[in-house]
Amino acid sequence: MPPFTDAGSNPHGVCHDREGGPEPPGDLAARAQVGGDTFGKLLAGNARIRGPRPAMRFKDNGIWASWTWAEVYAEARGLAAGLQKLGLKRGDKIAIVGGNRPKLYWSIMAAQILGAIPVPVYADAIADELAYVLDNAEVTFAAVQDQEQVDKLISVADRVPRLQTILYDFDRGLKDYDHGELHHIDTVIAAGKAALGEPGAAAALDGEIAAGKGEDVSIILYTSGTTGRSKGVMLSAAGCINAATDTVTFDKLNDTDSVLAYLPLAWVGDHYLNYAQAMVAGFCVACPESAETAQADLKEIGPTFYFAPPRVFENLLTRVMIRMEDAGRLKRGMFHHFIGVAKQWGEKILNGESVPLAAKLSYGLGDLLVYGPLKNALGFSNIRVAYTAGEAIGPELFSFYRSLGLNLKQLYGQTEAFLYVTAQPDGQIRADTVGPATPNVDIRIDPASGEVLYKSPGQFIGYYKEPEKTAETMTPDGYVKTGDAGFFDATGHLRIIDRAKDVGKLKDGALFAPKYIENKLKFYPNIKEAVAFGQDQDFVTVFINIDPIAVGNWAERNNVSYGGYQELAGLPQVYDIIGAHVDETNRTLAAEPMMAGGQIKRFLILHKELDADDGELTRTQKVRRGFIAERYQPLVDALYSGKTEQHIATEVTFEDGRKGTIAATVAIRDARTYPAVVVANATGAMGKAA
């Protein structure tokens, strides 16, 4: 994860601990963070001190429904009591499979109230992956979204013998199923609420909440499996809460904030940003109507805190640009003029630097005519803090959003740390770093391998049932190995180069950092994905996936006809475009002393889009380089044998699970390389890396 962007701003943080909003002063007590070392206790605390404030929203049948903290607590208690009646006990595991729906969040809360352990699983996981995780985690219960997930669970039932009871949220198509061990979440909640009415039942449930301890396992989050089988990361309740408390304070979040929970439920980011932070700060979490409507829902909700991986920002920008190409001349001219103004002055204004009055006026007019409406259309109008992480973000992309006045920052983290390891504080935002360590996080760089090691409050307890893997990941003195190579630059910010094990050498000893090269290529809107090869080879080569939207739009504007992705990818004109991008990439690589040896000699455009269903990407859309190299071995060989084209047939998996074959003859091109540019004092900060 290398280059990122820049400067800082803090238009809001006037007072230290909490934001001054339009609330009456009497309500200030409600701004306090509630104490407690388990989520059950936090939920009870939130219901007590900010009972009537909104906790959750969900767009159902076209209307935003809201639940207050008191209501959410009541529902979660009902569900907990219902689950208890069905047999869920302290220490049992309950799988959560589905999208961001309130009732699935309540299932997580209910499990944590009882001291049971929720195990969220990616909703788009195929049955095979699902069976592995469920069996590995020894789940006995599952709370799922709908028939699709119920069917999946039933199809793998024989491989998950411990699973007894399934709860579902959405009943369409499930009427005729055997309801012996299958329950609608609503009926479970109703039964639980009825049971809580009995004398002593409510007090017994309070007892369960009180019995929870901070060091207990609060949740098991499975890693996305970038490297082999996914592992269950056990996180403790107190660890989660301490970590979230640190960042809530760091970004000055409080209960007037709001987020849209659209990230996958099973990903640490959702559990951290939308669940743990909401519980600690008491803010409102809105659930989109469906995954497809998230963009429209974002606009309606107008959240104040936002997280998106770089590719979301990239897609948004691509879409905006394409729509502007199709706009009328006046609008297009206005857009380009004011985006130019923003590029020149926007970031300086956001950083509070002094700029000429004319620039301020021009920017103000731009805000009125372009930036404001654009941010509104994207749902960014109210955003106070926005983060991006997970992949490198292009410097141009990063400054585009910042120049519009969006306080976009970068963080670096991982599941094992319960997300945050570093984050950029307001005012210290740079393109190419991920910021200094977050409060209470201790980072060390392994002197031998350059690997980033850390100790953090949210640090995991261990991998579930895999003590030897846990031991491998830890240093003897208790630091966690990230597996990423990086270094601190002169300003004390961390810079990540690549996965430590991926940073290799070419035959001539030149440094080969595949991801660094891939990211440079991916900054071009026309390139969606790139895979670099070169370990122990004479030179670097790449596979390229074109972006069908951007390139398709180019084709449309230039009257180039094509029948599908494969044909588009093979067009000589497209090769020319991509070739120019590769050429430019080589030129920038040549300017960096450490990377100059890793210029791209040959490239090809892959005939199919890389897909997680074929195992080429992880569920979080990261390329699995080793697997791809094996799968497309003939193409890799051809890149190094000097051929100009190569035939390849690949098996693919369609969305319905059927298999088919795609065959194509892929052209291979040479790229121009440049002599390394010797820059007088470029060695300083870069010298220590790798």
């Binding site: 049948n61 369409r172 369609f654 969305e655 059927r658």
Partner: protein, 261 residues
């Protein structure tokens, strides 16, 4: 799949013949549709399937024979009368209002259920507003049911074909029909869209208990989906029965695969 076959007959077609001048589109066809079932009408091109649907919903009037709907032998009805009576349909070629949004298109399906006068609706106030809110709620349930939330406000002309078909189904469902006629609901769809559509048809039948009569070319779909199948060829009925029975019927095999002469 429902097995309530010995149920009440919803629609009976008796000895129907339809001619266009000298061309005989349908000759002496009889079959029935039982409440709650999914009934398929299949046959090679030009077998008279769509003509049959057109007779049922009152677009064509057969010269001979009778159609009994809900126990009443029907005189000549017009399509809108059939609609009031509880028959909704979709078309082989999508027939939506292309410039209107998904929401508005489905709302059109509620027109027959609106009771306030045109003038009340002009002012969009008082009882008309109450009524509109109620209808909107119904429409939103259908949008939710068909999973088309993300295109709620998109003009249907901009949508891909598979989604347009789904919107059309939504509009027919908005009428809360007793009998739903689907004319090739799967035509021109890719496999995934077909599977989705199958799911929705089964779910409509399962959730709302709607009786469905459908025309379809894709044999796999028909055999999986329907409770009973009637086979037409050159305007005549050549088979009628469960999918399994029809599949084994020699005349049907001949009609589809041709016979050596």
């Amino acid at each position: 799949m429902s097995t309530a076959l010995p149920g009440e007959t919803l629609l009976a077609v008796e000895n129907v013949s339809l001619r266009f001048g000298g061309v005989r589109a349908i000759s002496d066809v009889s079959f029935d549709v039982v409440k709650g079932e999914i009934r398929a009408i299949i046959g090679p091109n030009g077998a008279g399937k769509t003509s049959m649907l057109n007779c049922i919903n009152g677009f064509y009037h057969p010269q001979e024979g009778a159609i009994t709907f809900k126990g009443v032998k029907r005189p000549k009805v017009k399509p809108h009368e059939a609609a009031v009576g509880g028959i909704a349909r979709t078309f082989q070629n999508v027939a939506l209002f292309k410039g209107m949004t998904t929401l508005d298109n489905i709302m059109v399906g509620r027109t027959l259920k609106m009771h306030r006068s045109f003038f009340w609706h002009l002012f969009r106030n008082g009882p008309a507003m109450t009524e509109e809110i109620e209808h909107r709620r119904k429409v939103e349930q259908i949008i939710d049911f068909l999973e088309i939330e993300h295109i709620r406000k998109t003009p249907v002309g901009k949508l891909p074909y598979g989604l347009q078909k789904r919107v059309e189904l939504g509009r027919a469902l908005a009428m809360e029909p007793d009998l739903l006629l689907l004319d090739e609901p799967m035509a021109g769809m890719n496999l995934e869209e077909k599977e989705d559509m199958c799911r929705f048809i089964l779910d409509v039948n399962n959730t709302y208990g709607t009786t469905i009569a459908l025309i379809e070319h894709d044999m796999g779909v028909v055999m999986d989906l329907s409770d009973r199948v009637v086979v037409l060829e050159y305007g005549r009925k050549i088979a009628d029965g469960t999918p399994d029975a029809v599949k084994k019927d020699q005349t049907v095999i001949d009609a589809y695969l041709g016979v050596a002469h």
